[in-house]
Amino acid sequence: MIDQHLAILPVVLPLVAAPLCFILPRHSLAWLVACATNFVSFAVALSLLLLTMEQGVVSYAVGGWSAPWGIEMRIDVASAIVLCAVSGISSLVLIYAKDSIAHEIAAEQCSLFYTAHLLCLTGLSGILITGDAFNLFVFLEISSLATYTLVSLGRDRRCLTAAFRYLIMGTIGATFILIGVGMLYMKTGTLNMMDLSERLALLDGNRTLNTGLAFILIGVSIKLALFPLHMWLPPAYTHAPSVVSAFLASTATKVAVYVMIRFIFTIFGASYVFEEMGMSIILLVLAIVAIFKCSFMATVQSNVKTVLAYSSVAQIGYMILGISLATSLGLMAGLLHIFNHALMKGALFMAVGCVALRTGSVDIKAFQGLGRKMPWTMAAFTIAGLSIIGVPLTAGFVSKWYLVTAALEQQHWLIAFFLLAGSLLAVVYIGRVLEAAYFQKAENDVSIQEAPLLMLIPMWLLVVANIYFGIDTSMTVGAAESAAQWLTTTNVTEAN
């Protein structure tokens, strides 16, 4: 019974638990329910990953209507790996949330936070498992609406304007995707992704199709904060509560990158998008500009959350760069970076949340002398920061290694150089924080306690994961490899 309906559970579980959290009167009760749901979702995601590694695709017909007519949930290795990352990070963030939001969110809104969090998770999981282009839009909007609410929960009043800007940008992006999907439907008369890809391959170029592709790619680029369309992201991440920044930075934009992969590789087909439409060069240039411009912006900020937000935009540049190389290896490096970046950015934002809890500020000045006062938090920040830079023995090194290899495989020396040079800027912006923490003395000598255990444990789990996946790469690289192979080869067989 459970086995049969396993594929739909990642959506159903949080969706059912969300209203339950809403009616629970006490903060700790709502927290327990949310955590329990999340852990079960994570277990389901793991078993789905194992299942897809074994048999390729898990397909589930919603309501018993079979595929091209009914709505299909379709999980392959690529969706399962991102689903694992999302639900895993979400579980850790929820454990961490209890103490953090008690400090940052008004008491009567705490159970609302868990409701919004679970709804956001519903939407994100839905995007990952659906096999229907229109459903993807609906799930995208579910997660986005929850995200706007989450961002607006902060104490600082600027979070409201940040959330409003995010809402305007996000809605325009989602509506663009809706227009694009409409144009695909206009030409093919189907919404099922597999069906779409088959029929699009037969059409062989068409103005409606090209326009649809343009609308979809721009809409998705807004959602994933690709360089010129990223303006909503820094304010949203800076002013949202720390838990929300940690959750969004490591899940929401990653899922949007996944949506882009899905549209390019599964629906349109890589050769059409990259070769005929020449999208690879556009994406490549934007990605490189994102890496440099936003890394540089990160080096000049004084608010550490803003530093990390700009760094996120730069890291998204790395993922897009991997995808735009249009090879199996590049795609695999991009997927690997999605997973690894979720680990490191989650840990970094969590460390900043701990600092915010104890010092009440996230300005770089607040970090002065913290190396002694909060050794565990700053050690976590250091290791995750090294991972962002790409130091060997951390997860960041592995994904950057594969990105550089993918670039060199096609003799793109310049791109490999840009990739490595971008890391130097990461040394600067992470280094500034570390320098303040370890080599500067605090101005006023107040005693600051280490963060509570319930926040340290999830943060350190992420840090340990960073190191573990930096040393033992067989699991992540293997999964990313088979996912990339799956995405590129299914496309080849259909094009024939």
């Binding site: 706007y148 809402l167 809706l178 409409g182």
Partner: protein, 118 residues
Amino acid sequence: MSFVTDYYNYWVVVFLMMAGFYVVIAANNLVKKVVGLGIFQTAVFMMYITIGKVKGGSAPIVAEGVESFSNPLPHVLILTAIVVGVATTAVALALIIRIKQAYGTIEENEFEDKEDLI
């Protein structure tokens, strides 16, 4: 001339879409921005309904003497999209109320003057 008249629906859609988009970008008042967003989304709804129309087809209800029907699927899709649009507008208006409480204004240039956002 037929290029204009044949694609009459699409011209309306494009005009509304651009007008709504312009309002979203240019308006200073947050409520006006939401209005623009509404027009922009409505234009997309109209595009979908246009796709579903079959010339000479009736409403997709089985009745005697009716042979061809309009495609009901775009209508169903757009019902969902309308619900999404309503939810977005509701969240946006709720945010505007909170912004008004926090800043005392909903004119974008006025609260931007009060502090730099980033």
